[in-house]
Symmetry: C2
Subunit: 343 residues, 2 copies
């Protein structure tokens, strides 16, 4: 991939960073003007939003803009940045619902406020304080996401549908139906296809042909992205994922990887697996036993092959003439970022 | 108050009802098309939204429309109805954060899903399922609120600011700062002043004079509404409030009523109060002892007087010539509804 494309992505990431930093500075000032007691709220959200994050969704939206022959403006920068706030809401609420202790290598929001409660010897029950804080901070991120989108003064009417669609995907991507294939598929849509469409619509009255071409690229890539995420949840390096090793195994997430492993397991293996899978107190040894099972059944290799095939399919779709030449290198590069092993 | 005004309010309530019923029917069909397993989600939200509710916020928004010389159209009906979905989000998340068991005389959403989990003998931990469901259903109500507002095709740009402002009030109205005067004040704003402004902006390019006049009416009335709510939380009839008797005492809510009582309590009374106030297992006798304290210190009577004074102030503001004659009777009637004792 050309270094020009890489620096274009980095510049976009920087623009999003500046936008979010400015936005959080304004919002923090507003919160503090209401009450200095809201300081923990503003600093926790600022840190959650600004300390890390790959900005994958805004980058796909940017690729959508370029694919429609458009370019980044102050207004489109605001619009694509709002996806990070939407994602923050989804992650904060997700961690609360899953009871996850960590996110991006730091305590999750409900754990963070639980700690504040303990450290400051506040009145009441610390976990209840953590819960309330996570509900509110997630809600606030969602409201801010709408606000940033609206202040972008973009084609609000056109955008609203797209945006809500993106958001609705986060709603389905939940433990109510976590195991459903459809949710996985939708989660991929939400990360890749919808941001692409959003960008295309932001830039221009996107043609049906362009939207279809972006779907041909985005849908298989979305699936590949999910499968990579499954693999990282089991085999990922904690220093890269920000989650403890084997976190999905501890949580008992029923991913495609687990379904594929199950299908090849003997009854004896299944009995052994039940001792560790989904157990909160599973140790390194237990994680290693499950990992070994996933490898020895061939499930890991099979999923890697599927990721390769889906990625190839996505890359092939980039050749569609409906996609502006200015977007092609970006789509190529982002496909690799979204599915690469060390992500 | 004229019966014409009453029937005008009832007609508006009916329009909101029809709008919400239609909206929930469409959304339920959409949810079920994703998966039949989402049936409990759609039926719980439909029931939460449609089985009861005074529609106070849409009615104030309607009064704002009339005050600006406008009238109800299909588009404005959608726009004002979205306030009920916003309120649903606030209530569902609020009950979760407060650990409240009931809402509108029925189990709160997290308790409802906890029961489903127990009854259907689902896998996992019932309270965790209740928690996740309440987070998601609240989020969904918030997303739908935006969606209904956007499909109203009203002056989205103008509205967005108002709407977000309304929503932000729900965020502050939380246990992070529950005792803060500012939160109480803002909660009143959110219920009354902001919906009025929203309606005025929906109907026309509302003049600064009209917005100021509506604030002169809405702010004192908002305070009076909050104080009435405090009294109902302690003395309200469960069959009317939908909450157990003395629920605020059990929860240990630090309302203005409690602050006023505290200020007049002897040390002996304070010691006695601490035995019951904020205790989850407080019985009828304990509730009666606390109620008696609130009466005997004169706090209850003093707050009733304040409500009367604030309501008079609001009623006086209706005479402002900036308010269209078509809105005046409505504002009068709504002031009584918002502050009446049996509400």
């Amino acid at each position: 991939m050309s270094s020009a494309t890489k620096s274009e992505l980095q510049e976009t990431r920087d623009c999003v960073e500046i936008e979010l930093t400015q936005f959080m500075r304004d919002q923090s000032a507003y919160l503090l003007s209401i009450s200095p007691e809201l300081q923990p709220v503003s600093s926790a959200l600022s840190s959650f939003l600004l300390d890390s994050g790959k900005r994958l969704r805004p980058l796909f939206a940017y690729a959508g803009i370029k694919s429609a022959g458009g370019s980044l403006t102050p207004a489109t920068t605001k619009a694509i940045s709002c996806l990070e706030l939407l994602q923050a809401c989804a992650l904060i609420h997700d961690d609360l619902m899953d009871g996850s202790d960590t996110r991006r290598g730091k305590p999750s929001i409900h754990r963070h406020f639980e700690s504040i409660h303990v450290q400051d010897e506040l009145e009441g029950f610390a976990p209840a304080y953590g819960l309330a804080s996570a509900v509110l901070l997630g809600d606030l991120a969602l409201v801010w996401s709408n606000q940033l989108l609206n202040t972008s003064e973009m084609r609000v009417e056109l955008m609203a549908g797209q945006f809500l669609d993106i958001h609705e995907q986060t709603q389905k991507n939940t433990d109510l139906d976590r195991s459903m294939k459809i949710a996985r598929y939708k989660s991929g849509k939400y990360t890749i296809e919808r941001p692409l469409h959003m960008g295309a619509v932001l830039a221009a009255d996107a043609s049906p042909a362009l939207l279809a071409a972006l779907s041909d690229y985005g849908l298989p890539l979305g699936e590949a992205f999910q499968f990579r995420d499954d693999l990282l949840g089991v085999f990922g390096d904690p220093s890269v994922t920000g989650k403890p090793a084997g976190d999905d195994l501890r949580e008992g997430k029923r991913t495609a990887l687990i379904a594929m492993t199950d299908a090849k397991c003997t009854d004896a293996m299944k009995a052994e697996s039940r001792k560790y899978f989904g157990k909160n107190d599973i140790d390194d040894k237990g994680v290693a036993i499950l990992q070994e099972m996933i490898v020895s059944t061939g499930a890991k290799a099979a999923l890697e092959t599927m990721i390769d095939e889906l990625t190839s399919k996505a890359l092939k779709a980039i050749e569609n003439p409906a996609i502006d030449i200015a977007g092609r290198d970006l789509l190529n590069e982002l496909a690799l970022i979204a599915t690469k092993r060390s992500m």
